[in-house]
């Protein structure tokens, strides 16, 4: 059921209560929620609002990085375990203004720093399609709450592929619009120049509808765009005739799973039969091998500075020492997990004066080359496309991943190209591979969000996969 139908066929109380109860009932199996927010007060406030609002009484979930005044926002970290937001993020305000009811904060990798959701302070989040498998991350909680039918829309953030990868693993739509399209004010950062706010929905039109509500210039975020907000929903027509789709051949060549490749090939043929013009494009292979290291250096350098505010002196969990310096050290030591510390060390290393030119500045130069290369291939096509993952979600205890393999470096990490460039990018369901969902990812040129959504809608119509709910309660 899409959001419009949901509004037409239920009362706000009905849909909010159902979501709230369901969120509780799936919690034991999925472990997706960090904090529940009693929706009663918000629902009561609806009486004074117009029922024409696009999210009138629609239950939604915020990733636990998004501030909402007087609610707990932990960033799925230990150090902010007791943090109560003193202010609203811009998107929180926009959602409420649109009539949405926020029922909770969802689990993520701490501060969005991870791709598994295994680093969340409250523990891993399970995949509703197989509870022994991971949700994907970092926005894992939001992804599984949409996939399991708790809420029709959840907010995520995406710094490398943190919306688009879990969407692939959960048979839902994961959309990261252009950089600057949605304000980041009030959203706990990972890496400011790569961070995007985006959404999970069960169909493309709901993603478009969400963007209409969330997008727009915000004077609190200097990187937000002044371009007018478009009627993304109405612009989703889904006619693929003449649409030029470039297949990223490097990604196809590095995927081993034949079922994934077959399904993708099958999809391409169907798209062609609908009038799409399919071609192969080749990104610079050397640059693709550099995606992950470039990403790690830039993201962690920014992250180490971004999280220097967490010293527990003004807020957060304080471990008191003899001096203020000692208190800061004890609090940070206790409040951050091992992976976070590792990333902070890498980030600091990249920024040291003696390393900065060779590491951080070089990574920035490589980023520029990568963006130029992506721009080049987008000159001749409307979107570039490839499977969003080589196969379905890994098992929690999967130690087989070779982080230096071509499959890992390219097929599993190429989507960061849309973070380097800030280009809009969306994952939509493709089908089931070995019983697990796998999505397909599309990226368009900067600020062509409407065109991207239109083509994604065409693909959704082609696959026929939308509004899928994987129940986990029974």
């Amino acid at each position: 059921m899409d959001i419009k139908t949901l509004i037409q066929t239920t009362t706000p109380k009905e849909r909010v209560n159902e979501a709230y109860n369901k969120a509780h009932s799936v919690q034991e199996k999925l472990n997706a929620m960090v904090s529940f927010i009693d929706p009663t007060e918000q629902v009561n406030l609806l009486d004074s609002k117009s029922n024409d609002l696009p999210f009138y009484g629609v239950p939604v979930v915020l990733k636990d990085l998004v501030n909402m005044k007087d609610t707990r926002t932990t960033g799925s970290s230990g150090i902010l375990d007791n943090y109560i937001s003193p202010y609203d993020a811009t998107i929180t305000r926009k959602l409420r203004d649109a009539g949405a009811i926020i029922i909770g904060k969802s689990s993520c990798d701490t501060f969005g720093m991870g791709g598994t959701n295994m680093t969340a302070w409250t523990g891993p989040v399970a995949n509703p399609y197989d509870l022994t498998r991971m949700s994907g991350g970092s926005s894992g909680g939001s992804a599984v709450l949409v996939a399991s039918g708790v809420v029709p829309m959840a907010i995520g953030t995406d710094t490398g592929d943190s919306i688009r990868k879990p969407a692939s693993f959960n048979q839902i739509v994961g959309f990261k619009p252009s950089y600057g399209r949605i304000s980041r004010y009030g959203v706990i950062p990972y890496a400011s120049s790569l961070d995007h706010v985006g959404v999970f929905t069960r169909n493309v039109k709901d993603a478009a509808l969400s963007l209409e509500v969330l997008a727009g210039r915000d004077d609190h975020d200097m990187t937000s765009s002044s371009l007018p907000v478009e009627n993304y929903g109405d612009m989703c027509v889904g006619d693929l005739k003449g649409k030029r789709i470039g297949i990223i051949q490097n990604v196809i060549d590095s995927i081993h799973n034949l079922e994934t490749l077959n399904q993708f090939k099958d999809l391409c043929q169907k798209l062609e039969s609908k009038g799409a013009i399919i071609s192969s494009i080749h990104l610079n292979e050397d640059l693709m091998h550099a995606f992950l290291p470039t990403y790690y250096i830039i993201a962690n350098a920014e992250a180490t500075a971004n999280h220097s505010n967490l010293d527990s002196l003004r807020y957060g969990v304080l471990k008191e020492g003899q001096t203020m310096d000692e208190s800061m050290i004890l609090s940070r030591t206790a409040g951050f997990g091992k992976l976070l510390k590792k990333r902070f060390v890498i980030g600091s290393y990249a920024l040291f004066t003696e390393n900065q030119e060779e590491v951080f500045r070089k990574a920035q130069k490589v980023r520029r080359l990568i963006v130029d290369d992506v721009k080049r291939v987008l000159e001749n096509v409307d979107v570039i496309m490839a499977p969003a993952s080589g196969q379905g979600a890994p098992k929690f205890d999967d130690a087989s991943i070779d982080q230096l393999s071509k499959e890992y470096l390219i097929a599993e990490n190429y989507m960061a190209l849309a973070n380097f460039s800030g280009y809009p990018s969306i994952t939509v369901p493709m089908g089931m591979v070995d019983g697990l969902p796998v999505g397909v990812n599309l990226t368009a040129y900067a600020h062509q969000d409407a065109k991207l959504l239109d083509i994604a809608f065409g693909i959704e119509k082609t696959t026929g996969i939308s509004n899928v709910i994987k129940e986990v309660t029974q």
């Binding site: 501030n67 926002t73 960033g75 200097m222 350098a301 002196l313 310096d325 920024l351």
Partner: protein
């Protein structure tokens, strides 16, 4: 051995904006601690900076007045370090692209004007203020995020006196621009002095120390003098000068070690990703520069062209509030020298700078102008002027006061002629004395007329009539 003193000065200057550098919280003016703060100033998770346009405007003004090249592309960087007065764990500053570069000011010295080069002027945010009491530390975040410019001179300064003149002149320029209130004692203008000695005739710099927390212009001079003595003693005794940060102790009249600089902190500067570079509109830049307020040098020149001597002009411009008052006053009178004298004595004696700035007085400038005009035309004596001024301070009008004090001038020719004739008739001997060359007789006769008129005879006309009467009675 003969040593040359080499000094470079860094000045941190708080900008007079309504709100903070990167947040909409008000800039604190003696407010209750921790009341002028919002989530941005406290570095709460998820907050982002938004640049204060007014701070940029004031910085552009300062750059222009200090003859800096202005970079039209505004960029910021992060300076990373952990300290309890730094909420975000980094300070947003302009390390790589300062808004101003390669400026200078000329300072007066005994051997003429001296060019002091300014290396850079950059914008940044202030830290919170810490108060230590016993083993407790209290933090007031009101100051956190206050807009600052840092102005860094080249090591062109060669004496304590030059340093003092440099800071004084620079502060005066910034105060005239309205960029800052420049109060050193309240910390809105703070100086760090880098100082080293080298043998006269050598090029290589000696080891420098930095003196921080100087809270007055006069302490700059005293601190440098003390540090020169200290460093000279060390060098004379073949002891090394240690690179360190020191402070000046006004009681002991010497500098005290604060901390040694052993392997300086790596601030890991990198470009601030949350502030997209802002290209200033050339028309906006031009309008700022075209509308720059009058600078002290220009004002001094204008005063001297109007007839003031260099000393008076210099004294007036030292105090912008007084100088502004003087400018108002000379709109009402062309007796510029008299006006300056009154400003530098009676106005200064009766009003504080704060009063002048806030125009917190009852005195009407127009009425004071009337008084000075009368004094200039010798319609009243200086003594009478002092009495009148006391009334003017209460807000009274000049003409009314003159009436009330009964010191209205008699300028009527026929009345005065009669008075002169009467006095001459009563003082035959004085007429003879006058014509015998005894000048005192004239004064005596004037005095008699004044006495008779109760001081109200117009002295200029009376003097003229008296001379005429005496000529007529030449024996």
């Amino acid at each position: 051995m003969n040593y040359e003193t080499v000094i470079g000065i860094e000045i941190h200057c708080e900008l007079k904006t309504k709100t903070k550098m990167f947040s909409s919280a008000p800039v604190s003016v003696n407010s209750q601690p921790n009341t002028c703060v919002n989530e941005i100033d406290l570095g709460h998770p998820g907050t982002l900076p938004s640049l204060n346009k007014e701070a940029v405007r004031l910085s552009v003004m300062a750059c222009h007045a200090l003859n800096c090249e202005i970079d039209p592309l505004i960029k910021f960087d992060r300076k990373n370090y952990y300290y309890s007065d730094l909420p975000k764990g980094f300070q947003i500053t302009q390390q790589f692209h300062p808004i101003g570069r390669n400026g200078y000011i000329d300072i007066p010295t005994d051997s003429g004007l001296k060019h002091i080069r300014i290396n850079r002027l950059h914008m940044e945010e202030d830290t919170a203020k810490q108060y230590h009491s016993g083993d407790e530390t209290w933090i007031d975040f009101n100051r956190a995020g206050t807009p600052l410019v840092e102005i860094v001179s080249e090591a062109d300064i060669r004496s304590a006196h030059e340093a003092m003149i440099y800071v004084e002149k620079l502060r005066n320029i910034l105060v005239y621009l309205g960029v800052t209130d420049g109060k050193m004692e309240e910390g809105s203008l703070r100086c760090d002095i880098n100082i080293s000695l080298r043998e006269v005739g050598t090029e290589e710099f000696g080891v420098k120390t930095e003196i921080k927390n100087l809270n007055s212009i006069s302490n700059i001079e005293k601190a440098i003098q003390a540090e020169v003595i200290r460093q000279t003693d060390l060098l004379e005794n073949n002891q090394p000068v240690e690179q360190a940060t020191r402070r000046y102790d006004d009681v002991q009249k010497t500098t005290i070690l604060m901390r040694k600089k052993e392997g300086s902190v790596d601030y890991k500067y990198f470009p601030e990703p949350n502030i997209t570079p802002v290209l200033m509109d050339p028309n906006w830049l031009k309008s700022i520069i075209d509308n720059l307020p009058e600078l002290p040098d220009h004002r001094e020149k204008r005063y001297m062209e109007a007839g003031l001597n260099a000393y008076d002009a210099g004294q007036l411009i030292q105090n912008k509030a007084l100088s502004d008052f003087f400018d108002e006053l000379i709109k009402e009178t062309s007796y510029v020298k008299l006006a300056a004298n009154w400003c530098l004595s009676d106005i200064l004696a009766n009003f504080s700078t704060k009063q002048l700035l806030e125009k917190a007085y009852s005195l009407k400038v127009k009425e004071m102008g009337n008084m000075i005009n009368a004094l200039g035309k010798q319609e009243i004596s200086s003594k009478q002027a002092k009495d009148i001024f006391v009334e003017l301070l209460k807000g009274n009008d000049y003409h009314q006061t003159v009436k009330v004090l009964n010191i209205e001038q008699v300028s009527d020719q026929s009345v005065l002629v009669k008075m002169v004739e009467d006095i001459l008739n009563e003082n035959e001997q004085s007429i003879i004395d006058y014509h015998n060359g005894k000048d005192r007789a004239l004064g005596f006769l004037m005095g008699q007329i004044m006495k008779k008129s109760k001081g109200q005879a117009n002295p200029v006309i009376t003097n003229q009539l008296l001379l005429e009467g005496l000529m007529k009675r030449k024996p």
